[in-house]
């Protein structure tokens, strides 16, 4: 079962990881991904907008998909929205399994999906103004590898 959550509060990746292994003796591997705001080109802040009604449905769908593809003992996807500063975490994905291959693959799958199928949009704030981030073709290529897997 993968828990999904969207929040404006700062993320706590350590707590997310601890929750997947605490008190368990059947978890052999936990893989986590945490994405952070980078200060590229003098970025001042990043604002994440989302489509709340769709986000909930979409996150729930992908969580079920990941559970169906790999034998997971637990997982968590927490995405932050609102305005955040360089160095702050945007998203944490954590996946637990008995073995490492399932955990690595499920974490990569969830991230590829978040990048291409979840209704979030990033706006970059710099001294010269605010601009929307363009989608990257490489993210679509990364996501496509799961279609036949």
């Amino acid at each position: 079962m993968i828990d999904v959550r969207v929040q404006t509060a700062p993320l706590d990746p350590a707590a997310t990881i601890a929750a997947l292994s605490a008190g368990r003796d059947d978890v052999g591997a936990v893989v986590t991904f945490t994405g952070f705001v980078r200060a590229d080109d003098a970025l001042i802040a990043l604002t994440l907008e989302h489509y709340p009604a769709m986000t909930e449905r979409a996150l729930a769908t992908i969580a079920v998909e990941a559970d169906a593809r790999w034998p997971l003992t637990g997982g968590s996807v927490v995405h932050r929205v609102g305005r955040m500063l360089p160095g702050e975490a945007i998203v944490t994905v954590a996946v637990a399994s008995a073995h490492r291959a399932a955990a690595f693959n499920a974490a990569a799958f969830l991230m590829d999906w978040l990048k291409t199928q979840a209704p979030f949009w990033k706006a970059e704030e710099r001294a010269g103004g605010t601009s929307w981030v363009a989608a990257k073709p490489i993210d679509d290529i990364a996501a496509a590898r799961w279609h036949n897997a």
Binding site: Y51, M54, V91, A118, A134
Partner: protein, 84 residues
């Protein structure tokens, strides 16, 4: 009526978060809807001019341009997503 909701630069260009509009006769698909919306104001036209950069969700699920749009639907219009 259909509930239209806009995100990111689509929202900014149209100038509102969303709008509830009566569904005109003859608008049966997503493509029909985009064509009709683009005629509503210069702001709508500017927001929708590059169709390759437009994505649509009908009732919170991604929908292609041939997808049906029925009365009572929630239709979201936005650029390609950039989360994660």
């Amino acid at each position: 009526m259909i509930d239209l909701v806009y995100f990111a630069w689509v929202r900014e260009r149209i100038g509102v978060d969303g709008e509830a509009l009566p569904l005109p006769s003859g608008v049966a698909t997503v493509a029909d809807l985009l064509d009709w919306l683009a005629t509503r104001s210069p702001a709508h036209a500017a927001a929708l001019i590059d169709r390759a950069a437009i994505r649509v969700a009908v009732d919170q699920a991604f929908a292609g341009v041939d997808a049906a749009v029925a009365d009572g639907a929630e239709v979201a219009i936005f650029p390609p997503v950039t989360g994660g």
